[in-house]
């Protein structure tokens, strides 16, 4: 991620939001799955396929928010030797031109370096990461991370769940930056055949109680999206972007299990990325989007 204008911390926050100027495709992969070098190629393939932001997972041994697909990805990455330090090297090696978001669990952020949290954020900023998604860190416990993000100019993305309502929603929306991760349905990550009806409902709720951030901060919908069609539907329902993880990890997993060549897997990922990106764009065209288009 040898980029130029993201060296200035002040600009980063806008970097993420800008990625949603058109309906965005936000893929997730676990760094180091199934090994360091293949994983680099896979992430780069996603960028080629049209990713607007990449959520790059730093694997944690207890991924309590993940379904079986990503649990296994995390296990593969861990056993291939992925560590926070190697993760940062991975980011440095990565040759993509899209913003990176670090997706990980709080304990890894907390344990790194001499100063809990701050050391990790500092190092993340140095390797070009622009934001964080931390599934086990609700807004209530996020002060330390928020401070460090502010210090180094990174975004702190929060998840809004179908159960997040009323005052909670207001509190989260007041703290969020970069984008809002709208969880499409209850449960853990994992590809689904059909996308839940919660999307429109959730976006509606955010619009009602989200305050100024509801209009200012993009809303990316994730959890279960696995096809261009679904991506289109989600965007049509009002999302500013789609987050896709398990459907992509499935391709990596299958490649690993069947021993396919890395470049073949990378090509499939790129094609899948393209389908999803095109879906998102198609969804955007199918609806009136006066505010952002």
């Amino acid at each position: 991620m040898s980029s130029s204008d993201r060296d200035d911390p002040a600009k980063r926050a806008s970097g993420l939001e800008a990625a949603f100027d058109e309906p965005a495709f936000v893929p997730y992969l676990a760094a180091g799955d199934p090994d360091f070098e293949s994983s680099l190629e896979y992430v780069e393939a996603l960028a080629r396929g049209g990713a607007d932001v990449i959520e790059l997972g730093l694997p944690f041994s207890e991924p309590i928010a993940e379904g079986p697909t990503i649990q296994r990805a995390v296990a593969r990455a861990l056993s291939s030797g992925m560590t926070p330090e190697r993760y940062f090297e991975f980011c440095e090696r990565l040759d993509v031109d899209v913003p990176l978001v670090c997706m990980t669990y709080y304990n890894l952020i907390y344990q790194y370096g001499d100063e809990p949290v701050r050391s990790f954020v500092e190092r993340a900023a140095a390797v070009g990461i622009e934001g964080f998604v931390v599934p086990d860190l609700p807004a209530e416990e996020a002060d330390l991370l928020r401070e460090a993000c502010d210090e180094f100019g990174l975004d702190l993305i929060f998840i809004v769940a179908p159960t997040t309502r009323g005052e909670r929603l207001e509190r989260i929306m007041a703290q969020v930056s970069g984008y809002v991760y709208v969880q499409a349905r209850l449960g853990v990550t994992g590809a689904r055949e059909t996308v839940s009806d919660h999307t429109a409902e959730s976006l509606q709720r955010i619009a009602e109680r989200g305050g100024s951030a509801a209009t200012d901060v993009p809303k990316a919908v994730g959890f279960g999206i696995s096809s261009g069609e679904q991506a289109a539907a989600v965007v049509e329902a009002g999302a500013d972007g789609v987050i896709v993880g398990s459907a992509l990890v499935d391709i990596v997993a299958e490649g690993d299990e069947t021993g396919r060549p890395t470049d073949a897997v990378a090509a499939d990922l790129e094609a899948m990325a393209r389908e999803l990106k095109e879906g998102a764009l198609a969804g955007g065209q199918r609806r009136p989007r006066p505010e952002r288009t």
């Binding site: 944690f60 041994s61 207890e62 991924p63 309590i64 928010a65 993940e66 379904g67 649990q71 296990a75 861990l78 560590t83 926070p84 330090e85 669990y105 709080y106 304990n107 890894l108 907390y110 344990q111 790194y112 599934p135 086990d136 860190l137 609700p138 807004a139 209530e140 416990e141 929060f158 998840i159 809004v160 769940a161 179908p162 159960t163 997040t164 309502r165 909670r168 989260i172 969880q183 209850l186 449960g187 853990v188």
Partner: protein
């Protein structure tokens, strides 16, 4: 309205997926209203059911043979006599009842030794709520009788095949279920771990142990105990046995962890051959709380080990971690071998077959008072017999044979 504690010093908190936070807020509210303020007579019903269904109060009985062996007055708080065979029902019954007061329609729980799962299955059957239990595959295989019991009580048992298949994985998997079903489901967590309000709430449900023991000790011995000893996995029997004594500064509180096969950690393999998070763990965040953990230098959680499934956990309750930090609770460790020996000792000398978890507390007595360089402990000593060993019979026989323990009986009566 009383306020629940969410932090214990720096420990505790609520590190959970956002999807669960509303449920946790709802639970906090219910905890404060029903448990702390006895709204709708919750506490009265809970106490009555603990008595009529659970079999409380449990006795505090003098251990004649151990008292003689160690030259110390030793009393046993008999949680092994609680319905289901362990202290676990105190909490499970409280939470399942609370779930009913909250209008929840379904109960889920994790289990390690199967004792908490069994207790929850029993409480759920008793209170007529459907129930599913997550249990690691490895634990399923080493605690078969408890699996049978859960099934026979009508609970679903969901094997967890991830990782090493012990308690840590089962908790993670139960949290995943909860994240999916949170609107209708209550997660009955099995120890003083997890996000607030669980650690305080589970402690409150379990503190009936020390409430009774305190009264019984005064009645039986004319005063407070000098020392209270309890094993510690997550720490629920521990906090239950300690809670009412915490303010009695003169009472020594000793939490005995599983020393496993050795007290170090294998960073390379990510494995700790023990479950001694209070003694050798480092601060971190797991399963919803900041606490002491067995983790590697990167913050990855280590696989723990203990001969007893119920202690085999990489974390520990945040309040216990705090009480250790401030010097109120003294941690100790007892290894697999010493625990097994203590298991046999209590069985043959006192006629009480303890759970392997519990045996660690007695292993501590032997190590502290049994050797030549025996120290003195403040008397009388109350040991919390957290559970009975029926669930452990097969495992004990196997482990005993592997070790050729001198004080253990043989099993050749079977053909």
């Amino acid at each position: 309205m009383s306020n629940s504690e969410t932090k214990f010093g720096d420990y505790g908190g609520q590190y959970v997926p956002e999807a669960l936070m509303p449920a946790i807020e709802e639970l906090t509210d219910a905890y404060e209203r029903y448990v702390l303020d006895n709204e709708d007579g919750f506490v009265d019903e809970f106490r009555n059911r603990l008595r009529d269904f659970g079999g409380r109060p449990t006795p505090l009985g003098r251990a004649d043979q151990l008292s003689e062996r160690y030259g110390h007055e030793i009393y046993l708080k008999r949680e092994d006599l609680v319905h289901g065979g362990a202290h676990k029902l105190n909490n499970a019954l409280g939470q399942v009842l609370l779930a009913k007061y909250m209008g929840k329609e379904r109960i889920i729980a994790e289990t390690g030794a199967g004792q908490h799962g069994t207790a929850t299955a029993m409480a759920a059957a008793h209170l007529d709520v459907p129930c599913e239990i997550y249990m690691g595959r490895r634990d399923i295989n080493r605690q078969r009788p408890n699996v049978f019991r859960m099934r026979i009580n009508g609970a679903e048992v969901n094997p967890v095949d991830v990782g090493r298949g012990t308690l840590k994985e089962a908790i993670s998997e139960t949290m995943r279920d909860w994240a999916t079903t949170v609107e209708t489901t209550h997660y009955v967590i099995g120890s003083v771990v997890g996000p607030a309000p669980f650690p305080a709430m589970v402690r409150d449900f379990q503190s009936v142990i020390s409430e009774e023991a305190r009264e019984q000790a005064i009645e039986r011995t004319g005063g407070l105990p000098g020392t209270v000893v309890a094993c510690a996995g997550g720490g629920s029997n521990t906090m239950g046995a300690f809670a009412e004594f915490v303010d009695d500064e003169g009472v020594d509180l000793i939490a005995v962890e599983a020393g496993g096969s050795a007290l170090d950690v294998d960073e390379e393999r990510g494995v700790a051959p023990n479950s001694a998070s209070l003694s050798i763990g480092e601060e971190g965040v797991l399963h919803g709380a900041r606490t002491k953990l067995l983790q590697d230098g990167h913050g990855q959680i280590m696989e723990s080990h203990s001969i007893s499934s119920g202690l085999d956990y990489s974390g520990v309750g945040p309040e216990l971690a705090h009480l250790v930090d401030v010097g109120r609770v003294t941690p100790a460790t007892v290894g697999d071998d010493a625990a097994l020996e203590a298991f046999h000792r209590l069985s043959t000398d006192e006629g009480i077959i303890p759970a392997l978890e519990t045996a660690h507390a007695f292993g501590f007595l032997e190590e502290a008072l049994g050797g030549d360089d025996a120290t003195k402990l403040a008397e009388p000593i109350v040991v919390n017999v957290s559970g009975r060993g029926d669930k452990d019979l097969e495992a004990v026989i196997e482990e005993t044979e592997a070790r050729e323990l001198p004080n253990a009986p043989t099993m050749e009566v079977f053909e």
